[in-house]
Amino acid sequence: MTVSDGKTLPAGAHDFDFFFGSWKVRHRRLRERLVGSREWDEFGGAVRVRPILAGLGNFDENVIGLPQGPYEACTLRIYHAVSQDWSIHWIDGRNPKFDTPMVGRFRDGVGTFLAEDVLQGRPIRVRFLWTHEGTQSARWEQAFSPDRGLTWETNWVMDFARV
C-alpha cells in the first residue's frame, strides 16, 4: 500500500520505531509526589506496541502489575508532520478518557514531552523523557514541576527490556 511506504514518511515519524514490539517493563514509582518522598515502589509490567496510521503514529497496550493488582492502560501517539511534534495520549483502563496530551519531540536522542496539569489543586508541569539504546532497551521517565519547569521531581521510571 503506497500510504504505508516508509520512504514517504517524514523523518520524525520514525522516532518511535525502536519501540515497536513486545517488552517487559520494570516500573519504579515514587510513593508520593511533590512532598519530598524518597520511598519508591517497584513492580513489573508488559507492553506491546504497534504502528498505526500507516506510520504516522503508534498504539500501545500496557499491563501494569501493581502489587495490589494489575490494570491496563493504552497510549496513543500521533505524529504531526507540519509541527514535527508528537502528541502522546495516555488512556487509563480504570477510567478511560482522554486528557491533555503530552507534546514534544526527539532531539539528540532524547524525547522530551510536556504538558500543563493540576495536582491536588495546584498547577504543575509534567514532563516525559524517552531514551533508548537501539531497539533492545529503553527508558521512560515522568517528572512533575511545581515551579513552571525550574525544578523537577522524577516520580515514575519504566525500564523496558525486550521479551
Partner: protein, 192 residues
C-alpha cells in the same frame, strides 16, 4: 479479586490517577467511577470485534442536495482494549481518490454510561471531537457538534448489528440543529 475488579478498584499510579486518587480520598474511597462494567452498555460493541469486509457508499457532495453516490471496498479489523472497556480498529479504505488507513478508538465511560468514538484519518491524523452516545434496542446512535464549510453542523453516526455476520454503520450531517439529516456515508460490514 480478579483482574477486572482490580482494574476497577486500584488507583494512584499514573499522573492522572494522582488527581483521581486525591478526589477518591476526599470522597471517602473508590466511588462511582470504580464500577464500570456492571452496565450492559459496557459490552455494547462486542459484536464488532474481529475482521470484516466493508462496502463503502459515500455521497459525492455533502449538504448540497447531491444524490450522486460512489462505492468502494475496504477492510476493518477491531480488537478489544482495556479489558473490554474499549476497542481500537484499523480501516483500510480503497477510496478511488487514494487508498488510506484510518482508525477508530472507542472508549466506554463508566461515569456517563456512554461511549465516545474518535476517528483518526491517516491522511491528516488528529484527535478531534468524538461522537458520543449509546445503544438502544440494538442500535447505537452517536452525536457530535462539528463544522462543515464554515457552518456549524451536527454529526450523527449509527451502528446496527444485523445478523451474526453483518452490520451497518451510517453517518449523517444536519445543518439545522438536528431537525433534518442527510446520510452521506454508509458502511456495510460482512464477516471476513
Amino acid at each position: 479479586m480478579d483482574a477486572t475488579v482490580a482494574t476497577r478498584l486500584f488507583r494512584g499510579v499514573a499522573r492522572r490517577e494522582v488527581l483521581a486518587a486525591a478526589a477518591l480520598i476526599t470522597a471517602g474511597g473508590p466511588a462511582s467511577s470504580a464500577r464500570p462494567t456492571d452496565s450492559p452498555h459496557a459490552r455494547a460493541f462486542d459484536f464488532l470485534h474481529g475482521r470484516w469486509r466493508v462496502r463503502h457508499r459515500k455521497l459525492r457532495q455533502r449538504l448540497a442536495g447531491s444524490s450522486d453516490w460512489f462505492e468502494f471496498p475496504g477492510t476493518l479489523a477491531v480488537d478489544p482494549i482495556l479489558g473490554g472497556l474499549g476497542n481500537f480498529d484499523e480501516n483500510v479504505l480503497d477510496d478511488p481518490t487514494g487508498k488510506y488507513v484510518a482508525h477508530s478508538l472507542r472508549l466506554y465511560c463508566p461515569d456517563t454510561d456512554q461511549w465516545s468514538i474518535w476517528w483518526l484519518d491517516g491522511r491528516a491524523p488528529a484527535l478531534d471531537t468524538p461522537v458520543v452516545g449509546s445503544f438502544r434496542e440494538r442500535k447505537g446512535t452517536f452525536f457530535s457538534d462539528d463544522s462543515f464549510g464554515g457552518r456549524p453542523i451536527k454529526v450523527r453516526t449509527t451502528y446496527t448489528p444485523l445478523t451474526v455476520g453483518n452490520a451497518q454503520w451510517t453517518q449523517a450531517f444536519s445543518a439545522d440543529g438536528g431537525a433534518t439529516w442527510e446520510v452521506n456515508w454508509i458502511m456495510d460490514f460482512a464477516r471476513a
